[in-house]
């Protein structure tokens, strides 16, 4: 079950969405304005926010940024009628899991929620804080610490990839598997896109010179996370 906050100023859309998600068994609250959303964010501690961008009293991206500064352990999904690349890129840059344009297919939304729920449940089986040498991981907070003690925020996808590699450490994972598990069937990133995500994770691993965590590339197959004790 997810704890969802819907931020949507359109009455009918918000209300139907709230009822429908509740009927699926999720806990769900609905805010019509930015101010209401802020209050509910503090009150209900949602782990998923469905955020509209054009709100009567504020901008959804700005509001999401404020929420992210308060805490990081929630998944952000934008639901907006704006579909210009500039807005999309800006929204994804603050660590949104996805940007769905209105009108959206309900099935598409439900598939995304299912995937998020799966990652969430899977992360809950891992300890709150994982320490390997000087490196630390907090999956639920979407944060890691490098060997110099600097906190690094991970995006939803980076975190999910790290989690996948971590859970199957010392095993090779194909790029196709990563794409299927992290992006889902309805997205088509190229292998190079996956590589770009790995670059950041690898940089973090390499900050510890004792190589306690290592992400190895396996030529024309994929990746393997090695834990050296």
């Amino acid at each position: 079950m997810l704890n969802i906050l819907i931020v949507e100023d359109e009455e009918n859309l918000g209300s139907t969405l709230e009822d429908y998600l509740k009927s699926l068994g999720h806990q769900c609250v609905w805010a019509k304005t930015g101010a209401e959303a802020s209050a509910m964010f503090h009150d209900k501690n949602p782990n998923l926010i469905l955020m509209d961008i054009g709100l009567p009293d504020t901008n959804g991206i700005k509001l999401a940024k404020e929420f992210r500064n308060i805490r990081k352990d929630f998944v952000l999904l934008f639901l907006s009628a704006l579909n210009d690349p500039e807005t999309k890129v800006e929204a994804l840059e603050i660590g949104a899991e996805d940007y769905i344009t209105k009108p959206f297919a309900l099935k598409e939304l439900i598939l995304r929620l299912d995937r998020i729920l799966k990652t969430q449940t899977s992360m809950e089986t891992l300890p709150e804080e994982i320490v390997h040498g000087k490196l630390k991981i907090w999956f639920r907070r979407y944060e890691v610490m490098d060997a110099d003690g600097t906190l690094v925020s991970l995006s939803q996808k980076e975190c999910a990839i790290l989690e996948l590699l971590y859970k199957k450490h010392n095993e090779a994972i194909t790029r196709e598997e990563i794409i299927e598990k992290i992006w889902g069937e309805d997205k088509f990133p190229s292998n190079r896109t996956v590589d770009n995500y790995i670059v950041k994770l690898r940089k973090w691993c390499e900050s510890d010179s004792s190589h306690v965590l290592e992400i190895q590339s396996i030529r024309s197959i994929g990746y393997k996370l090695i834990i050296n004790h």
Partner: protein, 300 residues
């Protein structure tokens, strides 16, 4: 045949005409200036003063007149430009305003559809499915208008490297209802540089054209790799009776009762923004050849 871009052509023409106009004005100015300064010395007879005065007055008023004309033309041109811009902005905001209620209609429709599935009433199921299908059609039309006004105002695309075959298959799954699409490609992992949304719009438009304008439901898509370019050839069994040279012209419809006349124009514009190209060949059975840049994986 490469699809022409009429708007760029007309603004290019306008630009060269104004350049010519400015050049002529400059030359006339220089000529009169030369006359005014030099004729005083050449003309030695008694009429000298009168002729110089005449040249000064005539030339002066001629130049002022030309200058006034140029300024009024410029004002008219700028006004027209501003009007076009505000029209585009109006359509963009209008379609945007329409999208939220449409999203709501679609959501209500889908929830109703889901509730009805358990009720097992074929008539109601059919009706609610049609409701959703039609919101989808409306959505595509609005996306086209929105993209058109965005592109005309100089909007950019978000280019990424993506896998072409699964992308096409997904679009066909979503929108290829009743169409029999055959994809021919040797490399299933072929990647291209594209904007996801724009590519979706381009493919939707081709499929929609087949559905609206042809009797047969057979479509062949062939994908060919050639160096740093990827060519996608789209061919249905249509019978085109219009003027092929006008295809891709904004608002051109050979069959005036169907379509909006912006699909191929937009396709061409979007492909240009992706450093690609649209070519149309064939006589009555048209073949659309779309050129894309190969994705990063491909080049590595």
């Amino acid at each position: 045949m490469k699809v022409k871009n009429p708007l760029t052509n007309s603004s290019r023409l306008l630009f060269s005409l104004s350049l010519l106009w400015a050049l002529v004005l400059l030359l006339i100015g220089i000529w009169w200036g030369y006359l005014i300064t030099n004729f005083e010395d050449i003309l030695a007879h008694t009429d000298r003063f009168r002729i110089t005065k005449m040249i000064m007055w005539e030339g002066g008023s001629f130049l002022v007149l030309l200058l006034l004309l140029s300024i009024s033309l410029l004002i008219l041109y700028l006004k027209d430009q501003r009007k076009t811009k505000s029209m585009h902005a109006f359509f963009a905001s209008l379609t945007h305003e329409l999208k939220t209620p449409l999203a709501s209609i679609r959501l209500q429709g889908e929830v109703i559809n889901e509730i009805l599935t358990s009720k097992n009433d074929p008539t109601l199921n059919k009706l609610s499915s049609r409701l959703i299908e039609d919101t989808g059609k409306l959505e595509t039309q609005m996306d086209k208008i929105l993209q058109l006004s965005r592109i005309e105002r100089g909007g950019s695309l978000n280019l990424t490297s993506l896998k072409l075959i699964p992308f096409i298959k997904n679009i066909i799954k979503k929108l290829g209802n009743g169409l029999n699409v055959e994809i021919d490609c040797t490399n299933q992992d072929v990647t291209i540089i594209a904007d996801e949304f724009a590519l979706e719009l381009i493919l939707k438009n081709l499929l929609e054209n087949t559905r609206i304008h042809t009797q047969s439901s057979n479509v062949k898509i062939n994908i060919l790799e050639s160096g740093a370019s990827i060519f996608l050839t789209y061919q249905d069994e249509g019978n085109f009776l219009g003027d092929k040279n006008k295809l891709g012209t904004l608002f051109y419809k050979f069959n005036s009762s169907k379509g909006s006349g912006i699909g191929l124009y937009l396709t061409n514009k979007l492909l240009e923004k992706m450093q690609g190209e649209l070519r149309v060949s064939g006589d009555r059975n048209l073949i659309f050849k779309l050129k894309f840049q190969a994705g990063e994986d491909q080049r590595a």
